[in-house]
């Protein structure tokens, strides 16, 4: 039995705005084991990226988190900013969303890697240079030693993402949070990023929180899948269960909208800000809805290894 690396309990993040509080997500429970790959899937605006930023405590000034984020027996929310600064990068790495905006355009790729290495591993310049070249070689830019002296604008989107991946693990973190690493990449480049992430997690025994809206990427990489809808985790279980025989109607709808499954859309749109919806947040779009769904708070139900937030979910029901 693997030990739990990160355990999130009752985490709620709100943003204070002129119009009052806006809730990003509500009462999230998540566990990541050592070396596990957890996929957090959901659609635009469901709060999945904010969850990643909340774990790293990198929210904008008006964002406030409540609850517990236990990482290696410490509550991250209780730590001082200085301690948190040390944890970022060295313990929990981040692979950011936008590869072109996340690299410094006036430094060469190698220099940026070296900088990261020297900061995290406290090694000398020459050693760092060798280590940076090794990293570049291992993680994607194989066979191109000259890439070391190239600048970000000379690389394609997929290559930048790979450089960023190499950068994000320079501190040898035990958990990497990858926020939409395949966004904006086309098929072949996406494959390479997926292959790279798989290689990373296998070789370094690092845990990965993969935030994505791409179900295929999630299916390929993850051990465990958590599905987020409108600021709530609606289903959480092993990949073989969640993406093969999903229990929550939203997950079923997502899978049915894939082109290879016939492109059957979920009716209507997801509400922008959940606000004060009572009961099930998927109620207005759900095809199994009953009157009782809309008036009571839905509790997590355990069916086999899957937690699902739906009253009518049961073992036998499939779409």
């Amino acid at each position: 039995m693997a030990t739990t690396l990160l355990s999130i309990r009752g985490l709620t993040t709100v943003f204070h705005c002129r119009q009052g509080q806006i809730e990003a997500f509500n009462n999230v429970d998540l566990d990541i084991d050592q070396g596990q790959v957890l996929g957090l899937i959901g659609e635009t605006g469901c709060g999945k990226s904010v969850l990643g930023m909340s774990i790293l405590r990198l929210l904008p000034p008006n964002g406030v988190s409540r609850g517990q984020i236990i990482y290696k027996y410490r509550d991250l929310l209780g730590l001082s900013p200085q301690v948190m600064q040390r944890i970022r990068g060295a313990e929990i790495g981040l692979l950011p969303q936008n590869p072109s905006a996340s690299l410094n355009p006036v430094l060469s790729v190698g220099q940026q890697l070296m900088e990261g290495l020297r900061l995290h591993r406290m090694i000398k310049k020459e050693k760092a240079r060798v280590a940076a070249q090794t990293l570049l070689g291992c993680y994607g830019l194989r066979g191109f030693n000259n890439r070391y002296d190239e600048y970000p604008h000379q690389l394609s989107g997929g290559m930048k993402q790979r450089v960023l991946a190499a950068l994000s693990i320079t501190g040898k973190p035990s958990l990497l949070i990858a926020d939409e690493p395949t966004k904006g990449l086309d098929g072949v480049a996406r494959n390479q990023v997926v292959a790279l992430l798989r290689q990373l997690t296998r070789e370094t025994k690092m845990a990965l929180l993969l935030i994505t809206h791409d179900l295929k990427v999630a299916a390929n990489l993850c051990d465990q899948i958590a599905v987020m809808y409108c600021g709530e985790i609606v289903e959480n279980g092993p990949v073989g269960k969640v993406l093969v025989s999903p229990l929550h109607p939203y997950t079923q709808g997502l899978l049915a909208s894939l082109p290879e499954n016939g492109l059957h859309p979920i009716p209507d749109y997801s509400p922008g800000v959940p606000g004060d919806i009572q009961g099930c947040r998927f109620y207005p779009r759900c095809r199994y809805r009953q009157d009782k769904c809309s008036c009571q708070t839905i509790k997590n139900k355990r069916i086999n290894e899957t937690y699902v937030r739906c009253l009518s979910a049961s073992e036998g029901r499939e779409n």
Binding site: G187, V194, G272
Partner: protein, 317 residues
């Protein structure tokens, strides 16, 4: 044939003193029948969006011709002839810039009609707009909204309504759903397909997602570095891809077969400028099966019935 594209090439020159030529498109040729859907697949930067802009007359080609219903669409200066205005329409990739941010939905909806002088009476305006909106599954309440108050999926629907109002002969969809979520993508694509079938429009669907293209298209053309390298009916190309690059694209894992991804050949130097091998096959520097003969550029040849490929080895088989 509704649309015939003949040997379209596009080159850009850069540099003031030592001008270098960049070839974006190389003698692209294909045809499209009325009511048919041709899927154009390729990676970003392969020239597929440039091709779309050229067909629409937004960018003049360096050479080549485009025919719509047998008539050439460009005048001598490479611009679109007047009589073809409004007959070819496009849905673009980015919903956030698809509508003028300072115009309300209903102004945007009416604009093509007013420009084409197909303007009905003033009283009919609202009627007409709400009819269009209903056709794409939106209610009348959206008429007075601004684009920034709408989601990406809603904007793409409004663009479809705009396009629909002109009843074009040809519609080009340039990655219309690549910025949308899966469930919204399904909604938009279904509406697009319905509209196309209903109005018997020829559709050129551009995307990098083979699954989506496979669902919507009758035929698929694969593009690599400005050239079409394989062209076949949708079912055939997915069952029996001939070009090694198509096989690489198809090797993109699917949900059911997660092992495939690891088998996909990592590309060695897709980014490498292929300028060294001026006359070689476009895929020469990356092809796992490259032979001596591939230093000579292959052309698109019919291998079996309706299945074209530009690869020496595919042809020999």
């Amino acid at each position: 044939m509704l649309l015939r594209v003949e040997k379209i090439s596009k080159e850009y020159t850069s540099g003031i003193f030592r001008s270098r030529r960049h070839r974006v498109l190389e003698e692209v040729t294909f045809a499209l029948a009325q009511g048919e859907t041709l899927g154009l697949v390729g990676e970003s930067g392969c020239g597929k969006s440039t091709l779309a802009r050229i067909i629409l007359g937004l960018t003049p080609p360096s050479s080549g011709k485009v025919f719509l219903l047998g008539q050439e669409v460009f005048s001598r200066g490479g611009r679109l002839k007047k009589e073809f205005f409004g007959r070819m329409q496009i849905v673009f990739q980015h919903p956030e810039s698809a509508l003028n941010p300072r115009m309300k939905v209903w102004d945007s909806l009416l604009e093509p009609l007013l420009l084409q002088k197909k303007n009905p009476l003033k009283e009919e305006h609202i009627n007409r707009c709400s009819k269009l909106l209903r056709r794409v599954g939106l209610g009348e309440e959206y008429l007075c909204r601004y684009p920034h108050e709408l989601s990406g999926g809603q904007i793409q629907r409004i663009v479809l309504a705009q396009v629909l109002s002109l009843q074009p002969d040809l519609l080009i969809a340039d990655e219309p759903t690549s910025q949308l979520d899966v469930s919204v993508q399904a909604q938009v694509l279904r509406i697009l397909k319905d509209i196309q079938v209903e109005n018997n429009i020829g559709l050129l669907f551009i995307s990098h997602d083979l699954d989506v293209v496979g669902w919507i298209s009758d035929r698929i053309a694969v593009m690599l570095r400005g050239q079409i390298i394989e062209h076949a009916p949708a079912g055939l190309i997915r069952r029996k891809p001939l070009h090694p690059y198509t096989r690489l694209l198809l090797g993109n894992y699917s949900m059911s077969d997660s092992k495939k991804a690891s088998r996909a050949v990592p590309r060695r130097s897709m980014e490498l400028d292929s300028g060294i091998f001026e006359n070689a096959c476009v895929y020469f520097s990356d092809c796992p099966q490259a032979q001596q003969e591939c230093r000579q550029k292959p052309w698109l040849q019919e291998v079996s019935d309706g299945h074209y490929a530009a690869c020496w080895q595919a042809v020999r088989k």
